[in-house]
């Protein structure tokens, strides 16, 4: 390839870091633009779910190594910076930044968008009482609490019965999210196993639509959870209410489809397994770069799941579709490959 082509990577989460590192290792001049004051994105809130030191392969610790590599790499990092305006320039891009120390626009032959996702806001699922009932929390909150307070965060809360509710805001065409968020089954089962390992007396039930138990790294977790006595029920509640007997508990009615019966049950803690949705600024970013969004608001791509309608603009990670951290990293490396090939052809 001729000289050192310039690439701008937008977003410093797991996908952005991976794409930036790969291209930099291959001789491109890479500038990584991150709006936050720290790198890592959503990956920063994922906690370690190892049970007594045995890794559950959740990927919670994946970020650290990449952060170490990026600071010792030639990738130019611009934190607290966002893209303000984009112009086409001689087949490439002229990107004007906001908040950067640099006042002049960046010139680049290609752009990789890795702007990530937002967690589904559990408030939008009104009947589940999130924000009103003290015993209703979300998977994201649980991850955060364990990350901040340690694995014992839920040990001394006097819990007896815990419910996980799957597919909160996912696989629901009525709310414009007719897709599987990919990660919720995995994090819910791993969190459930972690809680169960620390408090064996805890009764844990996972209410599911379909457990996504494919994938090599997850089969083991799935089998272990069942052996450890974690109950799985096919059926989701419609409404979660305050228990009339014990106001701090939550109660709900569900239809256990496989058992063919309708049951009412109380729980001390209800964890809503919230999924992923496009970032709230996805529309603006799409407009800035002249790319399309799919019917759910993620960036629209061709059959390769990487290229957009604008030559030279590629997407990586969860801004294209929900993915786990490992899958987002792999997708980003594919984006880097597509981008590199594009630069190579440009140079000919």
């Amino acid at each position: 390839m001729r000289e050192h082509p310039s690439v701008i990577v937008v977003g410093g989460g797991i996908a952005g870091l991976t794409a930036a590192l790969n291209l930099a290792e291959r001789g491109a001049h890479v500038t990584l633009v991150e709006r936050d004051s720290v790198l890592g994105g959503n990956a920063r809130t994922v906690c370690c779910k190892a049970i007594a030191g045995e890794c559950q392969l959740c990927g919670g610790c994946l970020l650290g190594e990449r952060l170490e590599l990026i600071v010792s790499s030639p990738v130019e990092l611009l934190l607290e910076t966002s893209v303000a305006r984009v112009e086409r320039d001689n087949g490439g891009f002229l990107v004007y930044l906001e908040g950067a120390e640099k006042s002049s626009p960046l010139r680049a032959q290609a752009v990789i968008l890795a702007t990530g996702f937002d967690h589904v806001d559990a408030h939008t699922k009104g009947p589940y009482g999130y924000g009103i009932l003290p015993s209703v929390t979300t998977g994201e909150e649980m991850e955060r609490k364990i990350k901040e307070e340690g694995q014992g965060a839920y040990d001394a809360l006097g819990l007896h019965k815990v419910a996980f509710i799957q597919c909160v805001g996912s696989r629901d065409e009525h709310v414009g999210r007719g897709y599987c968020s990919q990660v919720c089954c995995r994090y819910a089962l791993r969190l459930a196993r972690l809680l169960k390992a620390r408090q064996p007396e805890l009764e844990i039930t996972i209410f599911k639509m379909d457990i996504q138990n494919s994938g090599r790294d997850f089969q083991k977790t799935w089998q272990a959870a069942q052996e450890e006595g974690i109950r799985i029920v096919a059926g989701l509640p419609a409404v979660i209410r305050r228990s009339s007997e014990e106001p701090r508990r939550a109660t709900f009615v569900y239809d256990d489809i496989l058992a063919g019966q309708i049951v009412q049950e109380d729980f001390d803690l209800v964890v809503l397994s919230v999924g992923m949705q496009p970032r709230r600024d996805a529309e603006q970013v799409a407009e800035l770069f002249g790319i399309n969004q799919d019917r759910y608001g993620f960036f629209a791509v061709g059959d390769d799941l990487i290229s957009t309608i604008v030559p030279g603009v590629f997407v990586a990670g969860t801004c294209q579709a929900p993915r786990s951290m490992a899958e987002a990293a792999a997708h980003a490396q594919q984006a880097a490959e597509a981008c590199y090939r594009y630069l190579q052809e440009l140079a000919l």
């Binding site: 790969n22 065409e173 599987c180 996504q212 494919s214 090599r216 489809i257 799941l305 594919q334 590199y340």
Partner: protein
């Protein structure tokens, strides 16, 4: 201490899978010289280039050297063949079989596998379509207790094709509907729109009669003309042998195991310069396997693209005069980077760490019973050297 070692942009791709073909194509586009070798026939898909050498029906029997200068030894048509490459991509795929025991059913005119249906649909018109025209077809997933994304994906495709091309009435039975790949939920919606009926079962009761099959489940009994069962996938029979020759790890499930089991650097084996792509190391369908091949090629090019290799910043160094040749380091090195060799200039036989293959993990140094191994920085800062 050490300098960059020049390496050839030359890669060995092992396997005849579609992901292997994708890796070969991508490497050629990046200007690599590619040696494509398989134990089976190679697909004839128009991949031809002066930079590509193909060897079908070869058996790998030994591997020498390390990253940057691997020499792979094959038996090829009764001849010995030695190929030198800087890196190796293993893309041997998986193996299909029909788990008859777990199903407890024999294949018959009423019980087909997904592959049989696929083959029939590939036949010329009208036989391809007439076999299923206006028939009620019961596709039963998950029943063997195994879910593989490859078979689920194929079952989705078959259900759609049977509906559209053959006007079949398709019932799709499942325990847990697998949709955890981008776009799969959308695929199931489109199938529903085409008329596929999705049925969730708990414990289904399957009956194969004289002229019809039936499945009893939660909501009743469905009778059909044909029962279609997915096959299952497993590691190829030669995976363990290949792992031993390549000195890479296998997972508990018998597939190749990455360096980082958390898959942070997807596709990297424990040995530097050896990569895994596609279905030989992960559960995915054919198109995901090909995407995986692309990201593995990106990793290969990040390693070799500059035409030179440098050691890690910290690597292990054996003092040959202290080594007692106990082989502890050879056994403990997770990356197969240590060998016992003859140091000609010193006239001793002792362990030696290949400096390019070493990840600098320190396993050998901490296990050496006579402290003959030290972890050394590649370049000491000037002030250290001056002291």
């Amino acid at each position: 201490m050490s300098q960059a070692t020049p390496v050839a942009k030359q890669v060995l791709v092992l396997g005849a899978s579609s992901e292997a073909a994708r890796a070969v194509k991508e490497l050629l586009a990046l200007g690599y010289k590619v040696l494509w070798v398989s134990g089976d026939e190679l697909p004839s898909n128009g991949l031809d280039s002066p930079a590509l050498a193909k060897y079908a029906n070869c058996r790998l029997y030994a591997l020498e050297g390390h990253v940057g200068r691997f020499v792979s030894h094959f038996l090829h048509q009764g001849q010995r063949l030695a190929l030198s490459t800087s890196a190796i991509i293993v893309a041997t795929g998986n193996e299909r079989y029909f788990p008859a025991e777990r199903y407890g059913l024999e294949l018959s005119s009423l019980v087909w596998t997904t592959s049989q249906v696929k083959e029939q649909l590939k036949k010329p018109l009208p036989q391809s379509v007439l076999a299923f025209r206006d028939k009620r077809i019961l596709l039963l997933l998950d029943w063997s207790g195994e879910t593989s994304k490859e078979l689920v994906s194929e079952s989705f495709s078959l259900a759609g094709e049977l509906c559209e091309r053959c006007r079949s009435e398709v019932y799709f039975f499942y325990r847990d509907l697998t949709v955890d790949s981008p776009g799969w939920e959308q695929r199931t919606r489109e199938l529903r729109d085409k008329g596929v009926v999705f049925c969730r079962y708990g414990e289904p009761e399957v009956t194969v009669g004289e002229a019809a099959v039936s499945i009893s489940y939660l909501e009743g009994t469905v009778e059909g003309d044909l029962l279609v069962l997915p096959e299952a996938v497993r590691p190829r029979g030669d995976t363990a042998e290949l792992a031993e020759i390549l000195q890479v790890r296998l997972g508990e499930d018998g597939y190749f195991q990455e360096l980082n089991i958390r898959k942070y650097r997807a596709g990297l084996s424990a040995r530097k310069g050896i990569f895994f792509a596609g279905r030989c190391h992960m559960d995915c369908d054919a198109s995901e396997a090909e995407s995986d091949a692309l990201q593995v090629v990106a990793a290969v090019d990040a390693l070799l693209g500059q035409g030179a290799l440098e050691p890690e910043e910290v690597i292990a160094y054996v003092d040959p005069s202290k080594c007692i040749r106990c082989l502890t380091c050879v056994r403990t090195c997770p990356h197969a980077a240590v060998q016992v060799v003859e140091y000609e200039d010193m006239d001793v036989v002792a362990a030696r760490v290949d400096e390019l293959a070493c990840w600098g993990c320190g396993a050998c140094a901490s296990n050496c019973p006579v402290q003959a191994i030290e972890m050394v920085g590649q370049e000491m800062p000037a002030w250290v050297q001056g002291v």
